[in-house]
Symmetry: C2
Subunit: 207 residues, 2 copies
């Protein structure tokens, strides 16, 4: 993978967006697309799309466009989501329930395999069919199963402590729904799923 080493993270961040657009086109029965069409769908320039993809080789013949199925496969392989990563969720609340029930990760490279909570009255209960395990067992389960990916769905006040535990156990990627800023070591990836921040960003433009 050495040849990908210098790809800017901002480019990596756009690949899932391209994948999402390709999924829509495929669902509508389309087989071939172009950087122009993708750019128009996404509100970016076709040049940006071509340049982003060029980091990873050739995906289409000049003037022929992209084969959608092939590009989906290639992007999935680049992002390493052509396999299924096992995901641990910490915090057995309404959000965890929604994620388990709606399973937005199906077919996208991730599967929730374990659910933890620290509240004694929740431990041993089931949430959307999944057993709620005791957070005290978290490090052991993460290590034994070799889990790398975690979703943090605990209250903001507990989030840093849980993040520290996850990192110590070997988690390398955290998606946090807690509405606070977290600190993790540089080798651990962190993304915030912060709906309030997304609405705030748009509110600026409202009259």
């Amino acid at each position: 993978m050495a040849r990908f080493e210098k790809v800017p993270d901002i480019v990596i961040g756009r690949l899932p967006v391209y994948l999402r657009a390709l999924t829509r086109l495929a669902s509508e029965g389309q087989e071939i697309t172009s950087s122009q069409q993708l750019g128009k769908m996404l509100g970016v320039s076709s040049a940006q799309i071509r340049k982003d993809l060029s980091y990873f080789g050739e995906f289409g013949k000049q003037g022929m466009g992209y084969n959608i199925a092939h590009l989906q496969e290639q992007l999935s392989a680049i992002l390493k989501v052509d396999r299924e990563w096992e995901v641990v969720v910490v915090g057995a609340g309404p959000l965890a329930e929604a994620l388990i029930r709606e399973d937005p990760f199906a077919g996208k490279g991730f599967r929730i395999v374990a659910l933890f909570d620290s509240r004694p009255e929740r431990i041993g209960q089931r949430l959307a069919g999944m057993e709620i395990l005791d957070s005290a067992q978290l490090p052991e389960v993460v290590r034994q199963r070799g889990l790398k990916v975690a979703i943090l769905a605990v209250p903001a006040a507990e989030a840093q402590q849980v993040a520290d535990t996850l990192v110590a156990a070997g988690i390398k990627a955290i998606l946090s729904y807690a509405s606070t800023t977290l600190s993790v070591p540089p080798e651990v990836r962190l993304q915030y799923n912060d709906a309030a921040a997304q609405l705030q960003r748009m509110a600026y433009y409202l009259q």
Copy 2:
């Protein structure tokens, strides 16, 4: 507000992130911060933070740092979240339930005031205490209440049609949880809350 007109959207997108970091510092009892401390928390340079804030005037005295409460107030005003925007949610599923129950928007400028679904068996029911209204009434309610902000929580296959309805009714900002790419007119803001895409972005770095 004319003096803000030329602020790049990427800068606007970072203001809620700064606000989130300030909230953490305030919750820990801190009263003054610096661009250095914020930069370290957020993994960005202090120069970027100073430059971003400089679009909007002076927030601190040279060498004195920022008063956290004051900066929070100013950023909230700039983002127009020093008021409460009424939000409509379309799609009365588990995710809508989580948003209503957990209320991640409390104190952040938004309040869910109406919930719609098109499935006859859902209409008239309650979800987390909120009545599920008939989607057929959506345009009328949006217009009558002058709603500007919507959350889309319907299946991907229905998302574009619902987005079109929202836009036609006067919605100016859409946060979509549907896992598909949407098309809206340029005067309407659109953000995707796509947990799968966020995990995919991090998977690239996993070994």
